[in-house]
């Protein structure tokens, strides 16, 4: 029974939730890696070199993508909730996606 979800606003919500969840799950890992700078900088370097590997690169891109998607989606929500409401919700949703894609695009171009 997916039916009632098949519209842009729900998809925007779903994306926001998934990206938020994924970010929250990734965050401890990210922190852990960074704190290696303290205990063993070499290992951190080792990790960062793996960043050259295509798989890790993909993951990295994914993270920035998630962050961008979530941030723009969040901005969309905040605008909707806090500013006096205009009916152009779908435009906002589309704008948020466009913004996220833009950022990711730039990141991707730089990364490769």
């Amino acid at each position: 029974m997916r039916g009632h979800r098949g519209h842009p606003l729900w998809l925007a919500y779903g994306l926001h939730r998934l990206s938020g969840l994924a970010l929250a799950l990734f965050l401890p890992a990210h922190f852990w890696v960074l704190s290696m700078a303290l205990s063993s900088p070499e290992r951190l370097d080792g990790f960062l070199h793996w960043a050259e590997a295509p798989l890790v690169k993909f993951a990295e891109f994914g993270l920035v993508f998630l962050l961008a998607v979530h941030a723009f989606g969040g901005l969309r929500l905040l605008a909707l909730e806090l500013l006096p409401w205009t009916p152009g919700q779908k435009t906002l949703a589309a704008g948020a996606v466009a913004g996220a894609v833009l950022v990711c695009g730039v990141f991707l171009l730089n990364a490769v």
Partner: protein
């Protein structure tokens, strides 16, 4: 001109609270046939034990909503041709409400939440006072008018995944009613309403999924109303200094 041009394959959910399954029926196609007509045909001709609910049959009472091909809809005003999937139809009880039997659900929680949201007028005047002069362009009037066509059919309530996940959530319809009152110049106790909708099951739980607005058969916009409540409650709290 009741020419039937074939048969519909209709899958109807049967059972009572908790357990049940779909049962297949074949229903003759008719011109001008609504989903309610299909369900009624089954009960009147094929299986007299089928249970469902309706009253007005013209979209005014909000008793007849069901899940039709997976979407929450008023069935008395949904033309079969509009939703037909090939020649198949699936009809199930409204989502997010407990089933009494077959297609009839227990709507009490929906109305209990209406009450919990303080969804009723708190008077400023009595029957012995004149009716207040209020013009159409008075502040808030348009906003207050917007929800008046709500027939409390719970279609929005059935479409909302937040309701599904969070049984305490008051839901779009009750909150929309509260928002109407907040904008009503005649309302005496806006404070009580704001308090009611700011409680733990209140407006802050809404994730702006927008399914309420997408499915409301009267083209109302509960999502916008809930957003309005979020602003109003935050503002009131900031002013109240809490």
């Amino acid at each position: 001109m009741t020419a039937s041009t074939g048969m519909l394959e209709v899958s109807v959910w049967r059972g009572s609270a908790g357990d049940g399954q779909f049962q297949a029926f074949r229903v003759p196609v008719q011109e001008n046939q609504t989903i309610l007509d299909v369900v009624s045909w089954i009960q009147q001709n094929a299986d007299p034990t089928l249970s469902y609910r309706f009253a007005c049959r013209v979209g005014m009472c909000g008793s007849c909503a069901m899940m039709v091909n997976g979407l929450p809809r008023w069935t008395c005003r949904t033309h079969v041709q509009k939703v037909l999937n090939g020649n198949r139809l699936t009809v199930a009880p409204l989502r997010n409400l407990a089933v009494i039997k077959d297609l009839a659900t227990d709507m009490d929680p929906f109305f209990d939440k209406w009450v919990e949201a303080e969804g009723r007028h708190h008077p400023t005047a009595t029957r012995h006072d004149p009716m207040p002069p209020i013009t159409a362009d008075a502040p808030g009037r348009a906003e207050a008018d917007a929800a008046i066509e709500c027939i409390n059919c719970a279609v929005c309530y059935a479409g909302c995944d937040t309701v599904a996940g969070n049984p305490d959530y008051l839901g779009p319809a009750a909150l929309q009613r509260a928002w109407t009152l907040i904008n009503d110049a005649k309302e005496a106790d806006k404070g009580a309403i704001l308090t009611a909708v700011a409680q733990s099951g209140g407006c802050f739980n809404c994730h702006s999924q927008g399914s309420c607005t997408a499915h409301c058969p009267n083209e109302l916009d509960p999502m916008r109303s809930v957003a309005g409540l979020k602003r109003a409650t935050v503002l009131a709290a900031l002013k109240g200094g809490s």
